[in-house]
Amino acid sequence: MAVPQTLDTLDVGAIRKDFPILKRETQEGVQLVYLDSAASSQKPEQVIHAMSRFYETEYSNVHRGIHTLAEEATAAFESARDRVAEFVGAESSRQIVFTRNATEAINLVANSWGRANLGEGDLVLLTQMEHHSNIVPWQMMASELGFKIEYAPMTDDQRIDLAEYGALLERQPKLVGFTQMSNVLGTINPVAEMAEMAHAAGAVVLVDGAQSVPHMVVNVADLDIDFLAFSAHKLCGPSGIGALYGRRELLEEMPPFMGGGEMIKRVQFDAFVAAELPSKFEAGTPPIAQAIGFGAAVDYLSKLGMPAIRQHEQEMIERALEQLEEVPGVRVYGPAAEHKGGVAAFTLADTHPHDVAQILDRRGIAVRAGHHCAMPLHEKLGLPATTRASFYLYNTPEEIDSLIEGLYAVREVFA
C-alpha cells in the first residue's frame, strides 16, 4: 500500500508499483502509457487480490444462508456496502443499491422513479454535456410515458450556463439530471449550487458521478442531492458493479425495478411483497466478489486520500493543457484547468482522431478516440470525434511528455 508522503502529495512511484499492468509493454520494448482511465481505470493488486482471496477462502452466495461460508460472505459483502456508503457520505448503507454499473443505476431511477412520477406534460432537464447513459434511459422512458426532455446549454468555454439553467428550471422540471464531471470536456459542474437551484424549483436531482466519484471527494449530504450513480471500474474497482445512492424517502416509495430472488419478502402464486431497502432493488444473486473488490477499491483510494488524488490530477491537467496548447494544430475542448478534472479531449489539425490514437498506440500510449459516448455533445461541438487523454492517480508528468512527443510524431506522418 502506497501511503502519501505528506497529506497532500501522492507518491506516484509507489502507487505505480501497486498496479501490475503498468509494468506492461504493448509491444516488445514499448512501455505502456495508460491515458485512458476515463474509460476505465486500472486495478491495484490490493483489489485484484481481495477478490481472488475471497473466491479462494470464503466464497458463497449471500443472505439467507446459515452455514459459515454464507455468513462470512454476507458479512464481507455488507461490509463492502458500508464502506461504499461511507465513501460517498451516505447516511445509511441501506441507501446504497449495487447495480452492474452507473448506467444501470440511472436506468433504475428512470424506470422505477420515472414510471411512478413522470407522464405527459412533465419535463426532465438534462445538460448538453451528458454521457449517453444519462440521455438514452430518459429518451426511452419519454417515448413510453410522454414527458419532454430539455438540455441545459453550455457557455462558450463549455461550462454549464447557469443563467440558462435557471431559466429552464422555471419550467419546473420534475427531475434534473446532470453529470458532476464531463467525460469529454472534463468540466466539473457546481453540483451543490445546481442542486439547490433545482430543489428550489421543486425538482428531484440525479447526479451522474461516474467521472467524479473516482477523482474527488463526493459527499451526497454536503451536495444535498437525491440520487448519485457511479461505477466501480472507474475507481480502481472491478468491472461488473456500480452503485446507486438514493435519498431514503425516494427509494422507499419507488417500486422495484427487476423481480426475482432476494428482492422479495414474500411470494405467492398471485402476488409478491417487496423486500426492504436495499434488497428491493437487488434481484437475483448480486455481484458478490465484485462488491468485495469495490470495497477494497474505496479503501485503497481513501487511504491515499481523495484530496491528494484530486490535487495530483489537477497538476497533471494543468501541465497537459500547457503542453498540448504548444503543439501546432492542437485544439483542446472544455474549460480552463481550474474548472476541470483530469481529462483532455482535443483535435490535431484535420488529422482524424482515429489516426492520432493509432499512431500514439504504436508508441505505447493508450488514449481513446471517438465520440466517448457523448454524440450529442460532439454534434454541438461540430465534431464527429475527438482524441481523449485522461489521467489518474498513477500517471506521471513524464507520461504527458510522451504524449506530446507522440503528437509531434503524428504531425510528421501527416505533414
Binding site: 499512431i359 506522418v413 501527416f414
Partner: protein, 132 residues
C-alpha cells in the same frame, strides 16, 4: 514510418486518385460509421455487359477509411458486377497491406460495405458486415 501508415496509405489519403461524383451513375450508395464519423459515397457507371466502366468516391474520415475507399474505387473499375459481389474483405485487406484491429477494420471496410450495398442492397450484407 509506422507500418499501419505505409506510404501508400498516407499518399492515397493525401492525394486521392478516385475522388469525385458521377452524375448520372448506374449505382450509388452512401453510408457512415457513426462511431467515428467516417462517411463514404461511391458512384459507379456500368456498361451493357455489366462491367464497371467508371467509379468515384467522396466522403470524409480517417486515413484508413479514405485510402481504402480510394484504392477500392480504383480496383473496381473494369470488374464485372459479379466480380464486385464476390470481392471479399480479405482481398481488400490484402490490397491495403496493413494489419488492422477490429475498430480500424470497420474504417477500412466501410468502402466495401458501401460498394456492395450499392450493387446489391444492404440486407444481404448486414450479417456479414455487422459481424466484423
Amino acid at each position: 514510418m509506422d507500418d499501419l501508415y505505409r506510404e501508400q496509405i498516407i499518399d492515397r489519403y493525401k492525394n486521392p486518385q478516385m475522388r469525385g461524383n458521377l452524375d448520372p451513375h448506374d449505382y450509388s450508395y452512401e453510408d457512415d460509421n457513426p462511431l467515428c464519423g467516417d462517411r463514404i459515397r461511391m458512384d459507379l457507371r456500368v456498361d451493357g455487359s455489366g462491367r464497371v466502366t467508371e467509379a468515384a468516391f467522396s466522403g470524409e474520415g480517417c486515413a484508413i477509411s479514405q485510402a481504402s475507399a480510394d484504392l477500392l474505387t480504383e480496383k473496381v473499375v473494369g470488374m464485372s458486377l459479379d466480380e464486385v459481389k464476390s470481392y471479399t474483405k480479405d482481398e481488400l485487406i490484402e490490397m491495403l497491406g496493413i494489419d488492422l484491429g477490429p475498430v480500424r477494420l470497420k474504417c477500412a471496410l466501410l468502402s466495401l460495405k458501401v460498394l456492395k450495398a450499392g450493387v446489391y442492397g444492404l440486407d444481404e450484407l448486414e450479417e456479414e458486415l455487422a459481424a466484423l
